[in-house]
Amino acid sequence: MKKNTYYIITSFIVFIVALINYGAVCLNRYPAMLIVTASVLIAATIVYILRRRIDDAPVTDELISKINEMSATRSLQITWILIFAAVVANLNIVWYMDDPVLRSALLHLGMPFLINLAIMIMIYTIFRIYYTHKYLGLGDDEESD
């Protein structure tokens, strides 16, 4: 596939996702949330697959990959520190509130952040294990015995 074809298809996909989002917001119902999430995930997967099929000129190479890796790693590190700090600070404030109803409600609001944080750490750990096995191949160490 040519690079220009990729950009045209990607623009079309982004347009469709934007339409779906607009429709979902207009619907304003609970299933809309699932539709939006699913559409974004599917679009990202399709764009990723299309990107790998470009063959006329390199879109990425080892330097660009390294830059992407470094940016992703630093973003991840900083993001989870910020989220953790925000969650801990909020929980502390909420915990010492006098109103039990408000305290309970706010504690429930804080939970999605904690769950997001846990999911991020889990995903990171899974990828870490996957790439450790892929590149270090610990089972192939001749001098381990």
């Binding site: 000129a57 390199p58 990425t60 190479d61 080892e62 330097l63 660009i64 390294k66």
Partner: protein, 64 residues
């Protein structure tokens, strides 16, 4: 790591675009290597040396 890519490009009359195209990377990568801002992988270093029909140590010099 120092390199002689610019000298070899001049010798073979290649632009950065040509070299990038021949070894399958972007022009930005060739610029970064020429300016010693990025040390290429062994694989890319061999591809560049092969493009110039030179030994890898003639194109790249390690400064310990």
């Amino acid at each position: 790591m120092k390199n002689q890519i610019k000298v070899y490009r001049a010798k073979y009359d290649l632009t950065q675009w040509d070299l990038a195209d021949d070894v399958g990377v972007t022009r930005q990568t060739i610029i970064a290597i020429e300016k010693n801002k990025y040390s290429p992988s062994l694989d890319l270093a061999f591809r560049i040396a092969r493009r110039f029909n030179a030994k890898i140590e003639d194109v790249f010099q390690y400064e310990g």
